[in-house]
Subunit: 160 residues, 2 copies
């Protein structure tokens, strides 16, 4: 691979760059981006001694061109940790240059190092380039539906 | 609700009962059930000081009739923890008696107590009773595909 990406853990020094990339992913996915309070929580939750997620930047020629957010979930049937990819993003103008692939290779490496039984993630059904990318990497789309209740749903929930 | 369930945290005392319920869920879902080594890991990972998941039994008249396994994931856009339901199961002969509902209510309560921004879970596409149950509870099915690489996929992965 010609254009080699450097992977750098998110730290107090590059935190603002990291937040800027999250915002750009949210815009790309047409989802709400983190507000100022959320950014404060991201800093606390990501940079604490017992962080709630692991975040890494992809650096090319000194510029942060993408990022990944990972955390461990768990499979009860395998009784092994699962590496869950919460976000994997490359800035649009840096696409088709092998950077997303290098971020994905890094995720695989992390899954191996932590002896994970699985690696899992979700993809928006309309995100055709992402789907093509994961299929190319021999990932399997599962016959599971993904369900959610929002904070509003939870707050307004009436016990049946 | 007439038949009141008691929710009990999984402990060394009820651990074998817990494993038996996991095995019954795996059979119901037509998936591989944990082998003996996996049971050893479940014990270590679930009962340690820093457990990888939280497990609870539903007890009715002294019998464990179902269980839930929960853990926290994280939303980067909300910058809030998500309560993820890994398993929620009621033994077949105890269905349609409100027990699954009480386990679900318990999950909602946990999500509120931990100030979660979301509660998420997956459902097998063929599991019509589960889908009907979650829809009745106003959960939203998301337009996301769920992707996985298995341990074998990860081990055999060749960097592109």
């Amino acid at each position: 691979m010609s254009k080699k990406l450097t992977i750098e853990r998110v730290s107090p020094e590059n935190f603002d760059t990291f937040v800027d990339l999250i915002r750009q992913l949210a815009r790309y996915e047409k989802l709400d981006e983190p507000d100022n309070e959320a950014v404060g929580r991201l800093r606390r939750d990501g940079l604490s001694d017992d962080p709630k997620f692991q975040a890494y930047l992809g650096i090319y020629k000194g510029a942060a061109i993408g990022y990944v957010i990972l955390f461990m979930t768990y499979s009860s049937f395998l009784a092994l940790p699962t590496l869950f990819i919460e976000d994997l993003f490359t800035l649009e103008k840096y696409r088709r240059m092998g950077f997303g692939q290098q971020l994905f290779n890094f995720c695989i490496k992390q899954a191996k190092e932590h002896n994970c039984g699985r690696m899992e993630w979700t993809v928006l059904t309309w995100n055709k380039p992402a789907i093509a990318f994961y299929e190319k990497n021999k990932a399997r789309r599962l016959d599971w539906y993904f369900y959610r209740m929002t904070q509003k749903d939870i707050a307004g929930f009436r016990e049946r």
